[in-house]
């Protein structure tokens, strides 16, 4: 089936159904002479909907049952030896599918696989054609029935309203369910990982040495989370040490001191920083910032590695500045003018007012903004992949190379690796750790920000 052609046919069919509905509606209006409850367009949409829904149901049924049928067919061709072993069965079925789809398979193809593939492609071709025919028939019948129901009293407008609502519900359900699905899959894979490695060894282990994996061999490495977590925390701390003061000060300047003209220009400029892709920051870190730090270190007699926690943290801090600044700016602007007036009215200067009234009043919101920034720093990947040095050892020296949770996930999943080995599965456990970490930070931050917003409403 060529997808493009299918889409074109569907669109054509739907627009035809729509036209049909509109035309019928006009005819009904002119023959009966009665006032139509809904405008012609609504009748058209209703007919198109009744065309689309039955056809869609047929397709969904096909998608649901196709794998079952295919599996049954393939099963019947498998030799007993293969069918007895689930791993071999899965492997063989994958190969058969690849051969049937014309994609091909590597190595020698056993006769039973070729035969199964032939049968499979024959059946799936017929099934596909049958489905298209069925769907078309269902669509036509649906449209015809809907068309027959067009009368001046038909409340097409209200039905369309219901259809719109259902569509919106389906869309939001997809968004929510996908998130849920990701969480569940990460969770289940993590649990699988913990069948290989003890949870406590993972959480409190101080050595990260996963070794290499290869199919079949049960090579066990050490999966201690702490070096990675500490790397993440150290880089985050460095980033926050840079982003928080600069971001907060620039927010104060923008919201309290700057004239409206300057603000008008400066704020979007600052926000442009937020739009730079993180990989660009990474390149900047590794080619510019790292060498500069190395040279400075040589000058003052410090051993600063070019790729180090310090380099990655600094650049990440720069990346987060606009985030902190823009959030804090919003929060500071939300402090009511009455607070400022009250303070100025007592003879406070601008900086006294900011220090003693505005910042304390905005503090919860600013803390919330910081936590959101932290959760961004924790999840940031590209900068640390390039500039942190990728050395998963526990160290307190920020000028040493470190590794982070995100970097390790990248390392464990790139290259040729067996996805069923603990070496790959650990990525899920790491992802889960990261997810729980940022989730907690976000929940706390959102709670704080929300409570703060209510304070002045």
């Amino acid at each position: 089936m060529n997808t493009l052609i299918v889409v074109a046919v569907i669109l054509l069919g739907l627009s035809f159904a729509y036209r049909w509905g509109v035309a019928t509606s006009r005819k009904v209006a002119s023959t009966t002479g009665a006032k139509m409850h809904s405008r012609y367009g609504y009748h058209g949409i209703l007919v198109a909907l009744w065309c689309a829904i039955p056809a869609a149901i047929v397709f969904v049924l096909y998608l649901v049952f196709e794998p079952m049928i295919a599996e049954a067919i393939m099963q019947s061709y498998l030799p007993r030896a293969v069918a007895a072993d689930p791993a071999l069965t899965a492997d063989a079925m994958g190969r058969i599918r690849n051969i049937a789809s014309g994609f091909g398979a590597s190595g020698e193809i056993p006769a039973y696989q070729q035969a199964a593939a032939n049968a499979l492609s024959r059946v799936s071709n017929t099934a596909g054609l049958a489905t298209i025919a069925l769907a078309a028939a269902a669509g036509i019948i649906g449209a015809a029935m809907a068309r027959a129901r067009i009368t001046p009293d038909l409340r097409a407008r209200n039905f369309v309203e219901i259809a719109v609502r259902i569509m919106l519900i389906v869309c939001s359900a997809i968004a929510i369910l996908t998130t849920l699905g990701i969480v569940l899959s990460v969770l289940s894979e993590s649990i699988r990982f913990f069948t290989y490695v003890n949870v406590f060894d993972f959480l409190f282990g101080t050595t990260w040495n996963p070794r290499f994996s290869s199919t079949g061999s049960g090579g066990q490495g050490e999966f201690g989370l702490l070096p990675l977590l500490w790397g993440t925390i150290m880089i985050t701390i460095i980033a926050m040490l840079i982003a928080v003061p600069i971001g907060l000060m620039s927010a104060i300047y923008l919201s309290e001191y700057a004239g409206s003209k300057f603000r008008f220009i400066a704020k979007p400029l600052l926000e442009v920083l937020a739009g730079i892709p993180t990989i660009v920051y990474g390149i900047f870190a590794i080619f510019t910032v790292g060498p500069v730090f190395y040279e400075i270190g040589k000058l003052i007699g410090l051993d600063i590695r070019a790729a180090s926690a310090f380099t990655a943290g600094t650049v990440m801090g720069i990346m987060i500045i606009p985030f902190v600044s823009s959030l804090s700016d919003d929060i500071i602007s939300q402090v009511p003018q009455a607070m400022r007036d009250g303070s100025y009215g007592l003879g406070a200067t601008k900086s006294e007012t900011i220090r003693r009234v505005i910042l304390p009043a905005a503090l919860p919101g600013i803390v919330g903004a910081f936590l959101l920034a932290v959760s961004r720093a924790v999840g940031e990947t590209m900068i640390v992949v390039l500039a942190a040095g990728n050395s998963p050892v526990l160290t307190l020296n920020p000028f040493d190379a470190v590794s982070t949770v995100t970097v390790t996930i990248v390392n464990q999943l790139t290259g040729d690796s067996d996805f069923a080995s603990p070496q790959s599965l650990v990525a899920f456990a790491l992802g889960l750790t990261l997810f729980v970490l940022t989730l907690c930070l976000n929940v706390v931050a959102i709670y704080i920000v929300k409570r703060y917003r209510e304070q002045y409403e």
């Binding site: 007036d341 009250g342 303070s343 200067t349 003693r356 304390p360 304070q455």
Partner: protein
């Protein structure tokens, strides 16, 4: 040059109906015309016993960009008395009030011209230290605006930033005294650590008054201090104003005619940026000379 012509053009429209009247008055009063904008003459009603003047504002104009909000206002504010500013919304009474402690400085493109003389010093002089001025001329706002701090810290704020208190004990004394003067001490003395925002509206407003008193100002400006309060809280604040009059020069902007009549000794009626009539409160309310004053006071418009 362009701005001044713009100003005249912009304001010429809305006040046109009153110009005839004004010129007639100017003619009867027998006074000359200073400049085309200043044809307007405020009707000034005399006091039987003249009061001591605390603040003498002369020819104050306020412009927001090209829009003139206040036209050549001259007022003498009596010492240790309450002066009420009344008039419909947008008449410039709050704008004038905010000139007295230079709060208009905090508004972008707001220009105040003229002289505001307090005991021989021009408050409107650009070289003046507004921070010190505002310690001498306190302000209470329309909506109670306690800081999100404890009751104690709210009152201690002013003394702290001005370094008034010698030590902690002295600061405590100042806070207690201010709260007592604001009539709030009895209600809050056991919960000075609680947030000021947790008090009732009327208590919050008295807290703001205590906060203003704490830096021992000479003048207290009140911008519709009771408009966000219920009648009972309003009565408490009004009684407080009466007490404070003994020691402070008070200027109050109000939309309530009854309140102006109750609390003030002098009343000034503003209309469309002009000071229309001013004089002893009793005279203004019982025998307004200006038609618009009479109409506003009797509730024909406003």
């Amino acid at each position: 040059m362009t701005t001044s012509t713009n100003t005249v053009a912009a304001e010429g429209q809305p006040i046109a109906h009153s110009v005839d009247e004004i010129e007639r008055q100017a003619a009867t009063a027998g006074e000359g015309v200073r400049e085309h904008d200043a044809v307007f003459q405020t009707v000034r009603r005399p006091f039987e016993v003249p009061l001591v003047t605390k603040i003498d504002a002369r020819d104050v104009c306020v412009d927001y960009g090209t829009k003139r909000a206040l036209h050549h206002v001259s007022i003498k504010l009596p010492e240790k008395a309450v002066t009420a500013f009344i008039g419909p919304s947008g008449c410039g009474k709050s704008t004038f009030l905010r000139c007295i402690n230079r709060m208009n400085d905090t508004i972008e493109n707001c220009v105040v011209s003229g002289e505001i003389d307090m005991e021989g010093e021009d408050l409107n002089d650009k070289s003046r230290d507004v921070v010190l001025l505002r310690a001498r001329v306190g302000m209470v706002f329309q909506k109670p605006n306690p800081f999100p701090k404890s009751i104690f810290e709210n009152v201690a704020y002013g003394p702290r930033i001005h370094g008034v208190a010698r030590d902690k004990k002295h600061l405590g004394e100042i806070v207690e005294q201010s709260l007592q003067r604001a009539g709030l001490w009895k209600e809050v003395k056991d919960r000075l650590d609680e947030p000021g925002t947790g008090l009732s509206g009327g208590q919050q407003q008295r807290l703001c008054i205590a906060r203003a008193i704490a830096v021992s100002p000479e003048v207290i400006l009140m911008d519709e201090p009771c408009s966000a309060l219920d009648p009972i809280a309003t009565a408490t604040v009004e009684a407080l104003i009466q007490e404070l009059r003994e020691n402070y020069t008070i200027v109050i902007v109000t939309h309530s005619m009854a309140q102006a009549e109750r609390v003030s000794q002098k009343t000034c009626y503003f209309h469309l940026g002009y000071l229309v009539e001013e004089g002893p409160t009793e005279t203004i309310f019982n025998d307004p000379r200006e038609e618009r004053t009479r109409q506003y006071i009797s509730g024909v418009f406003g």
